[in-house]
């Protein structure tokens, strides 16, 4: 399976995100916290006239809180979410391969990672950003 992938730094790791899941890449303005929501819900931010729910993957993947304001926007069931990323590096077509036999992802990574791509000989985990959103259905690989 070949597709266009976004290479990003997410919670300190390089990951590849299927561009079909990404509506746009933005720099967020003020983030208003949502008290009592789950840890990875960082808050709400305005995106033009839309309000997006900001998800901080570091809250579940470890590594404290994301510092930057760069995010990828994804839409699930009519609701828009901004997934905070550390950095965006590239966008290019890649071929996805399943995880090599014997490789078992740990913790939350196991619920979001579903394969790998190769970038100049380096394997990069492909993730399903929608699985980072609490309450949204995780996509079966």
């Amino acid at each position: 399976m070949t597709g266009l992938f976004l290479i990003a730094q997410l919670a300190g790791r390089a990951v590849a995100i299927d561009s079909a899941q990404v509506e746009s890449v933005v720099d967020l303005g003020t983030i208003v916290p949502v008290p009592c929501a789950e840890a990875q819900v960082r808050g709400l931010a305005a995106l033009r006239s839309r309000v997006v729910t900001v998800i901080d993957p570091r809250a579940v993947l470890g590594g404290g809180m994301s510092a930057g304001s760069r995010a990828v926007i994804t839409c699930i069931d009519g609701h828009h979410y901004a997934i905070l990323v550390d950095a965006l590096e590239d966008i290019a077509p890649f071929e996805v391969r399943p995880l090599a036999s014997g490789v078992v992802l740990e913790g939350v990574w196991s619920s979001i990672g579903y394969g790998t791509i190769e970038l100049d000989g380096t394997p990069i985990l492909t993730i399903d950003v929608r699985a980072l959103v609490p309450g949204a259905l995780p996509l079966a690989a």
């Binding site: 949502v34 709400l44 069931d77 309450g135």
Partner: protein, 766 residues
């Protein structure tokens, strides 16, 4: 009905256009099942609508075509060329008739019988005489789907935000006047567009009311009752989504009124009423709310029967008896309660008033009952104008802002106010607001927000079941907000009702007040005691005039007191013979002015009248007529202002008519009238509640003695002896009905006993 007809024409025309392709295709391949189905659906829909709209010709044609097509579908007939032609001729004819109806042109019905006959098996093909039609009038309306309107609305919000940002940047950069003027023009256009776009979602409430006459007739006939229906305010517009949401509750209430409320003719005759029951359904707009009233002149709600039912459902009788009148009436809203012994076909089908209330509350509305046993029941449903735009109050906690929907707010009080206290019962905080004890929730605690200072304001919220006080840092402002549902993960907290993007461009969460109460562990049970003195006197809404006073303050005055409003030149105002007076129509009338009138050439005056006494009250401008809120927070000292009410989130002062007439009216005072002094801590209550009663009984009433005056009797609610002359008789009032705690006192709502005691004490027979 016109609306329905227009809709039918538009719909038929649209389907016909879409169908023309299908018809040609069917002609080519008569066996094509899909095409057949499409044409069948079309004639079926036309037939259905015609029966409803009373269009017999169309009905006959479509019925005949439907029969034949049904036979084809079931395989009884084969679609040969003759049959296809005959059906198509009918479809064409339907189109012609529809155009003729739209154009208002007569269309001869020759040949229609032939068209129908041609459908029969083995019939000769009929060629209808070609009809010359008036040119089709261009359609003045189009049908849009709601999604498109929503997108328009979103685009509009984008535009407003972009305008705001532009304005902000221009302000920061210091734009030149020409640019500012251009921006102003843009702003005006944007505002107008926003209005227009909002209106596209509006529909006349007639869409809801038009089905009522038939329903009332049928329901009444079924029950052997006769009911006259009055409908008012069909022109009022509200969001079309809202209209759909209101349909079921309205139908239910109307059926209920006929089934449970209005009696059978014989019973009505016995009760001295007209045999024809009266049912009035009306709608009116009040600010950003629509009030729908359903009033009947039936038997009202039998509260005793209601209590008996509740008791049978396992509620404790003692607890039921302790309910306030309103609490008893509210039993109607409890699940599964009906005063009917038997379930009839009309109501009692498992959808009760509880569902009605839940539906109304779900769309941000409120439902209130005014019951007069034996005389009738009035139900008022208040709903916001649109679902998406709601009136809200902004509150702040720590460094965050939240919105609370205005209709749920009873009032807002300062935590440091006089009549407010906060106590701890065990580890549970309780707020006492003017004697009313309420559970207290600190918003900061509920949301886990760390605040630096202390809470400053209490927002009293009324939710299904009861009221509670929410402590916030500050109350910011009143805004109209476009609220959208938040992401499932945010909604899952149960604390928020949605999110919104106010003009600041920073997202804000709308609090779910019921959810916050639930998460704070508040459970309501029925209040055993009457809630507060203001609540016991339940009355229909009193209209009041909203105006800007001379001192710039916005105030209210009860409308009934105003004889008329007129403009007068300020030169007609003079300070003469010790007070302000106005010469008006050749007479001199006492004038009350709170503020400066000398700078104006003209002022508006409200001519207040009480019997023969007239007072002129000078104002800057009269504004609007509104419903006087139930709760008036009394002023601390008697004066021109009786108290303050919360109106659309603002504090509005209410004029004290008694004080005005008492102080300024040239009342023919009787020298012999005994003087009653209201003394002690509860003078405000006594002034607002008792003064009219006492004055009616012939007393002069005052709360403060002027020099030389000696009261004939003192009225107090304090236990201590009043400071005045000890020789003056004192009548003491108590708050509780039972006398046990305070012997020698009179329950303050016992008018007879009170007046008797006054007469006895003052020694002056009146």
């Amino acid at each position: 009905m016109d609306d329905l007809l227009r809709e039918f024409i538009a719909e038929t025309r649209e389907t016909l256009e879409a169908l023309s392709g299908e018809i040609v295709a069917w002609e080519a391949t008569p066996d094509d099942r899909e095409r057949l189905d499409a044409i069948f659906r079309f004639v079926h829909t036309v037939k259905g609508s015609c029966g409803f709209l009373d269009l017999p010709r169309l009905s006959r044609l479509s019925h005949a075509a439907e029969d034949v097509l049904a036979a084809v579908r079931s395989g009884e007939r084969t679609p040969d060329t003759a049959l296809v032609n005959a059906v198509l001729a009918i479809v064409d004819r339907i189109g012609e008739i529809v155009e003729a109806i739209d154009a208002g042109a007569p269309l001869h019905d020759t040949g229609e019988e032939l068209l129908i006959a041609a459908l029969h098996e083995g019939a000769e093909a009929a060629m209808p005489a070609p009809v010359v039609l008036a040119r089709r009038t261009p359609a003045r309306s189009v049908r849009l789907n709601v999604e498109l309107l929503d997108r328009m609305m979103n685009g509009m919000s984008d535009m407003v935000l972009a305008r705001n940002e532009l304005a902000r940047r221009l302000r920061d950069a210091g734009a030149d006047p020409a640019t500012e003027a251009a921006l102003d023009r843009l702003s005006a256009t944007v505002a107008e567009m926003r209005d227009t776009v909002t209106r596209t979602r509006m529909q006349k409430i007639d869409a809801l009311f038009s089905a009522l006459p038939r329903m009332v007739r049928d329901t009444a006939a079924e029950l052997g009752k006769s009911v006259t229906l009055h409908i008012e305010g069909s022109d009022v517009e509200l969001d079309r989504e809202m209209i759909e949401m209101m349909r079921d509750p309205l139908v239910h209430i109307v059926r209920n009124a006929i089934d449970h409320g209005i009696e059978v003719p014989a019973a009505r005759r016995k009760a001295g009423k007209r045999e024809n029951g009266r049912l009035a359904v009306s709608a009116r707009q009040s600010g950003n709310q629509i009030i729908i009233m359903i009033e009947d002149d039936g038997q009202g709600i039998d509260v005793d029967a209601l209590m008996a039912m509740a008791a049978r459902d396992g509620r404790s009788e003692a607890e039921l008896r302790r309910l306030s009148d309103r609490g008893k009436l509210d039993l109607v809203f409890e699940a599964g309660l009906t005063t009917r012994e038997s379930v009839t076909a009309i109501s009692g089908r498992g959808v009760g008033m509880d569902v009605v209330r839940a539906n109304v509350e779900r769309i941000g509305g409120r439902i209130d009952l005014a019951n007069t046993p034996g005389k009738g029941l009035a139900i008022a449903i208040r709903v916001p104008l649109t679902l998406s735009i709601i009136a809200a109050i902004g509150v702040s906690v720590g460094d965050q802002r939240f919105a609370i929907s205005s209709p749920t707010i009873d009032e807002i009080v300062s935590i440091h106010g006089e009549a407010i206290r906060i106590d701890m019962l065990g580890s549970t905080p309780v707020a006492t607001v003017r004697g009313r004890r309420l559970p207290l929730v600190d918003l900061a605690g509920a949301l886990g927000i760390v605040r630096e200072g202390t809470a400053g304001k209490l927002v009293i919220l009324s939710i299904s079941g009861g009221s509670y006080a929410l402590a916030v840092d500050d109350v910011l402002d009143h805004e109209e907000l476009v609220v959208k549902p938040a992401a499932p993960t945010v909604m899952a907290t149960g604390l928020y009702a949605g999110h919104t993007l106010p003009d600041t461009g920073v997202p804000m969460l709308l609090l779910d007040c019921a959810g916050i109460a639930a998460s704070a562990g508040i459970r309501f049970w029925r209040e055993p005691e009457a809630e507060s003195c203001g609540r016991e006197v339940e009355a229909p809404a009193v209209p009041a005039l909203l105006f800007d006073d001379l001192d710039g303050v916005r105030r209210l005055v009860v409308l009934a007191a105003i004889d008329r409003i007129e403009s007068v030149p300020t030169e007609a105002i003079r300070h003469s013979a010790g007070r302000l007076r106005l010469s008006l129509d050749g007479r001199i009338v006492p004038l009350v002015a709170q503020g400066d009138w000398a700078d104006h050439d003209q002022v508006q005056i409200l001519r207040l009248r009480d019997g023969d006494t007239e007072i002129a009250y000078a104002v800057r401008e009269a504004h609007d007529i509104v419903d006087l809120p139930d709760i008036v927070v009394p002023a601390r000292v008697p004066g021109p202002v009786a108290g303050v009410v919360a109106l659309a989130g603002q504090h509005i002062e209410l004029l004290d008519l008694f004080w005005l007439f008492g102080e300024h009216g040239d009342l023919p005072t009787r020298a012999a009238a005994p003087l009653c002094l209201l003394d002690g801590s509860e003078t405000v209550w006594m002034t607002s509640f008792l003064k009219p009663v006492l004055e009616n009984a012939g007393y002069r009433v005052t709360a403060a003695l002027k020099g030389g005056d000696r009261p004939d009797v003192v009225l107090t609610m304090d236990a201590a002896t009043p400071a005045s002359d000890a020789s003056v008789p004192v009548v003491r009032l108590r708050r509780e009905r039972e006398a046990a705690a305070e012997p020698g006192t009179i329950y303050r709502y016992d008018r007879e006993a009170l007046l008797a005691a006054l007469t006895l004490s003052s020694g002056v027979g009146i």
